[in-house]
Amino acid sequence: MTAVVAESLTKRFGDVLAVDDLSFTLQPGTVTGFLGPNGAGKTTTLRMLLGLTAPTSGRSLVLGKPYTTLDRPALSVGAVLEATDFHPGRSGRDHLRILCRTVDLPDSRADEVLKIVELQTAAARRVKGYSLGMRQRLGLAGALLGDPELLILDEPANGLDPEGVRWLRDFLRAFASTGRTVLISSHALAEVAQTVDQVLIITHGRFVVESSLHELTSRVGGSVRVRTSKPEELKEALHREQLEASSDQQTLVVRGANTDRVGEIAFNAGVPILELVAEGSSLEEIFLDLTSELSS
């Protein structure tokens, strides 16, 4: 069974077409980054998937059914749409116990998920004393209550400090490594690049790219910087593989290939590699190129 199916999802708010005929499928066990600039229609799409907002046309299935017809969906789908959806005067533990009651989970489950997100020491405190990072983790704890097989998170890294981002990345990796499915939205590709294995990029409610991260990098031409003691020989070897490289003494910059490919070519050509780096900013540049191309 597919984890998520969207069929021609469309949402119109008055004159504004927020989501324009989006169709996509998520297979179980994948980690998908749902990307686009702010206002691209990501949150509206997620709300439609989760039954909070009715599509103007089209439909979506979550684990084979429309979300609103799932019996106790929280036991198979965990979702967080806003990091701030808490009553400030209520403790974190009570927030979770309230959710537990609706699906007949024992209160002890609240303490289990608080441990997973490392909030157990703050559990009895009122949420108004929580930092943004703690709120993000409490939201995640709520999504994990039902031990779901599908996790849908809207901008979970927003407002996190670098340590929080790393914690989230490690958590999502561990979650996905058990064969479960993750859909995570973000306005910054770099934020999720190390976590996701495929990306859906939208802008103005429409798809720009739907591919694996690997494909995206090679297709749009990410660059690889390689330093070698035999730059001329490597340049020739690359040329035989239809790859262009600009050189500056020992360092070549190769566009349209990833580090795996360049490394293999160098090995086959018997060229020693002294340094091999995927250019860090290239992904973000691709993303900006893609999303601004369509808006102009």
């Binding site: 989760l50 979300y67 799932l70 969906p73 959806d85 005067g89 309230i98 009651r101």
Partner: protein, 244 residues
């Protein structure tokens, strides 16, 4: 449904909001009974009508039950907890039904406490001042049963109003304006119409005999009709509207 109700009741208990409203209601009830009982001339505390007025939780408990009901739903929209609530229970009719029952129960508790305080303190004052009790057992039965039914319905009434308006400040102002301004004005200017408004209907339900009020039974039916109407409109809107 039972599960959802348990969740709603924990929502009510787990913040200080309802407790604060409850404390406010207790304080005001005690203050009003003390002032009325101690400062009113003995001649104006003798008739059944006077004594009902002293014991009835009337305005205070009705207002606070309504406010508790309003906050039960509008705080979810205000703080965004409505999103996790609907994610866990996408059948929104179940959520709203559970909230209506939670509103009824909250109003019932408010009414029970307010009535106990008013009747307890009021009786003590009457006997201390040597004024004989003139209310019969059946008068008390109407007062107590009607008072509990009135505050319970007002709790659900508040939930219905809150479900329609969603915005907390707007809903609180609407409730207070309706009670203090609209009801009072319409009842004062055109009592034959005004007696069908929610607050005069609730007064009638408790057996108050202010001129122009309906009979207790008719008052109960009218208040029930108002509550049901608000609940149904609130339900229809909740099912239709997008949650953003």
């Amino acid at each position: 449904m039972i599960a959802q109700l348990k969740s709603e009741l924990l929502k009510v208990r787990s913040t200080r909001t309802t407790v604060g409203l409850f404390a406010g209601m207790v304080g005001l009830t005690v203050l009003i009974v003390l002032l009325t009982g101690l400062l009113t001339h003995p001649d104006d505390l003798v008739s059944k009508h006077d004594q009902r007025g002293l014991f009835a939780p009337s305005a205070v408990a009705l207002i606070f039950s309504g406010l508790a009901g309003v906050l039960l739903i509008t705080s979810e929209y205000r703080y965004g907890t409505i999103r996790p609530t609907f994610l866990f229970t996408p059948r929104r009719g179940n959520v709203l039904s559970a909230k209506l029952i939670a509103g009824l129960l909250t109003g019932l508790v408010f009414g029970a406490v307010s009535l106990s305080l008013a009747i307890g303190i009021g009786s003590l004052i009457l006997s201390a001042r040597g004024i004989p009790s003139t209310l019969s057992g059946s008068d008390f039965a109407v007062l107590i049963f009607g008072g509990l039914a009135g505050t319970a319905l007002r709790g659900a009434f508040g939930v219905g109003l809150g479900a329609i308006l969603r915005n907390q400040v707007a809903a609180v102002i609407a409730l207070l304006a309706w009670d203090f301004v609209v009801n009072t004005l319409v009842f004062g200017l055109a009592p034959s119409v005004g007696r069908y408004m929610p607050t005069p209907a609730a007064d009638a339900l408790m057996g108050l005999k202010t001129p122009h009020l309906l009979s207790p039974g008719a008052g109960g039916v009218v208040l029930l009709a108002w509550t049901a109407a608000l609940a149904l409109i609130g339900l229809a809107l909740t099912l239709r509207r997008d949650v953003t």
